[in-house]
């Protein structure tokens, strides 16, 4: 059962990858391919945050820590160490996992509001370090001078189409891996802990260790979002570690919804589109985005994808319920309208 659903996911990923690979031929526009690269960065990042928020019930407000850390450590590894891109990727993921291990060890035992703010505090710590440590990071000017891109495995990231394919491929690969993780027994343990930590403890699960593991995994994936961003802008900027990055990622997962696996990606698409439209129309981006957030949070109160999924479930339940009264049992409609 599980292997077949995994095979299905892989197949879908391959089809989407083929479609994305063909997209620039069908619609040759710089704007479209740039959009896909940015979507790759934020799609990976938001989905990794949702592993914490939606699956583990850990409401982190400082996930941008890993976005910034990923961008800076990748760009620095390429600039200073002159390594190959796979080595730099590996170093970045390992460093981010190690940092997540330390931050998580302190944070994951805390109650929700403390957890949210302590993670934010660590993110601000990284941001202030980036600003202060000018010789290494370039300070508030950002890390400039470009990210060198030696070819590897025939992939030349200095060619725009190669970068585009690489970003899209990395997005799909990360989504597949994360999907596999949340559908694994480990993923279901996280859901159990989210819903009822006391019960998990009584079943002999080490809640702290499981939460820490989720935090480390999410941090490692989150850093890959930063890597894509640093390749896209060919550098790294303090804004990547600023708290608004976390705020935007939270808005993405709230916008898309936390219950569907692809909700955060849908949220990322919506927020990026919104971003492009609003910045084209007005320079008061914050004002408009803030108003939209308030309308959404005070009006709809749930993710758009969650909302649509619920609507669809209700509709199909009703549709099934109409011919069913004659039937002696109404199990399918119960199952569908449940939750």
């Amino acid at each position: 059962m599980r292997t077949s659903s995994m095979r299905r996911d892989c197949l879908i990923a391959l089809i989407v990858f083929a479609a994305l690979a063909a997209l620039p031929m069908l619609w040759p526009s710089r704007g479209v391919s740039d959009f896909v690269i940015r979507l790759a960065a934020f799609g990976i990042f938001a989905t990794s945050l949702n592993m914490l928020v939606g699956y583990a019930g850990l409401e982190s407000f400082g996930h941008g820590l890993f976005f910034g850390l990923g961008a800076y450590s990748f760009a620095l590894a390429m600039q200073r160490l002159g390594t190959s891109i796979p080595t730099a990727l590996l170093l970045t993921v390992l460093l981010s996992a190690a940092v997540a291990g330390i931050v998580g060890a302190i944070c994951v035992r805390l109650k929700e509001i403390y957890f949210a703010f302590l993670t934010l505090a660590f993110q601000m710590l990284l941001h202030s370090l980036i600003i202060a440590w000018t010789p290494l990071t370039g300070g508030d000017q950002g890390l400039t001078g470009g990210v060198p891109r030696p070819a590897f495995l025939g992939i030349r990231l200095d060619a725009p189409y190669h970068l585009y394919l690489f970003s899209a491929g990395l997005l799909l690969l990360c989504l597949l891996l994360m999907r596999h993780i949340v559908q694994s027994p480990f993923g279901y343990t996280l859901r159990l802990i989210r819903d009822n930590p006391a019960r998990a403890t009584s079943l002999g699960i080490n809640v702290w260790a499981m939460r820490l593991a989720a935090f480390v995994i999410a941090g490692a994936f989150g850093s890959l979002g930063g890597v894509v961003m640093s390749l896209f802008v060919s550098g790294a900027f303090p804004d990547f570690a600023y708290w608004t990055i976390s705020g935007e990622a939270i808005f993405m997962i709230m916008l898309g919804g936390t219950t569907l696996f692809l909700g955060p990606v849908a949220g990322a698409v919506m927020l990026l589109l919104l971003n492009d439209v609003v910045t084209k129309l007005t320079e008061h981006y914050g004002l408009v985005l803030g108003l939209i957030i308030l309308l959404f949070a005070l009006g709809l109160r749930k993710g758009l994808a969650d909302y649509l999924a619920e609507l669809w479930r209700e509709r199909s339940a009703r549709r099934l319920a109409v011919p069913l009264p004659a039937a002696p049992f109404a199990e399918p409609s119960n199952k569908l309208s449940g939750e």
Binding site: F61, I113, L129, A132, G247, G286, A297
Partner: protein, 299 residues
């Protein structure tokens, strides 16, 4: 790291005096904001992430009213009251709708409000750094204390804030209203069953928080540059203060603020790159040793 400089400083009286007074004013201004954050959290169990924007509004309001009236006293009062009214509106119209929601939903709402206010401030007052300048009443030669320089305004600020801290502490522990507020913090259902409108208490606590934050912004205006986005570091520091001092405790907020202020002012000499890091380190140590904070109740 520059430990010799720090050692030089702590062995010279003039440097101790100068750094301590600058640490004290950082701490005192922080206390006014943190007391509001801590009270709101203690009573409503909501972290008002937009509290730093209240502080920012206070600073901008004092700028405008001082420019119009040329009276610093009037400007400070107007700013504090203005922000108190804003706090009331914010509670009634916005944050009260997400009581009991997910923490992230509450933070998201505050994030939206911060974005709006930061942009509005830029539209109204312009995006550049503003400064108020020292009001005429305080343009006097500074006091010299053991070779250290203590500006008159610093002394005024420290004394006024101490007075407010004592008044606030007494109001919460000794008055009937304070008793109601403490009761709502512990068991709102029982309080409303006894015929007290808890909605008024919530709104009142937000007004008080707004008043204090507006006052902090107003009093900070002569010694800080005023810019859109200035509230964020203040609200994060306030949160650190409430963690160190203990949620809902006025004494804890005062002690925590002063600690942070002193760490900041001496930290800039010894660890110029890692001043912020020192604050987080202090918080992490407190969280590990006494998770409820220095003045918080256990449990």
């Amino acid at each position: 790291m520059d430990l010799p400089a720090l050692a030089n400083c702590v062995t010279s009286l003039s440097c101790i005096v100068t750094q301590s007074t600058s640490g004290l004013i950082i701490g005192m201004l922080l206390f006014l904001v943190a007391a509001g954050v801590s009270l709101i959290f203690g009573v409503l169990k909501v972290i008002n992430f937009a509290h730093g924007s209240f502080y920012m509004l206070g600073a901008y309001l004092v700028l405008t009213v001082y420019g119009l009236s040329d009276s610093f006293l009037l400007a400070v009062i107007a700013a504090a009251l203005g922000v108190a009214v804003f706090g009331l509106l914010f509670e009634r119209l916005i944050i009260s709708r997400v009581y009991g929601s997910q923490v992230l939903m509450q933070l998201l709402v505050c994030y939206g409000v911060i974005l709006i206010l930061d942009d509005l401030v830029k539209i109204i007052w312009g995006p550049e750094f503003k400064s108020l300048g020292m009001p005429a009443a305080f343009q006097k030669p500074p006091y010299l204390l053991g070779g250290g320089v203590v500006p008159v305004y610093y002394l005024f600020l420290i004394l006024l804030t101490l007075l407010i801290a004592v008044a606030l502490g007494l109001a919460i522990t000794r008055t009937r209203l304070g008793k109601i507020v403490r009761a709502v913090a512990i068991n709102p259902g029982m309080v409303s069953a006894l015929g007290i409108n808890t909605g008024y208490v919530y709104a009142g606590v937000f007004m008080l928080g707004g008043l204090l934050a507006g006052l902090a912004g107003a009093l900070a205006a002569p010694v800080r540059s005023i810019v859109s986005g200035m509230g964020l570091s203040v609200v994060v520091e306030s949160f650190i203060v409430t963690v160190i001092g203990g949620m809902g405790s006025v004494a804890g907020a005062l002690v925590g603020s002063l600690l942070i202020g002193l760490v900041r002012s001496f930290g800039t000499i010894g660890f110029p790159l890692f001043t912020e890091g020192l604050m987080f380190l202090l918080m992490a140590v407190v969280l590990v040793l006494k998770p409820s904070g220095l003045f918080g109740r256990e449990g």
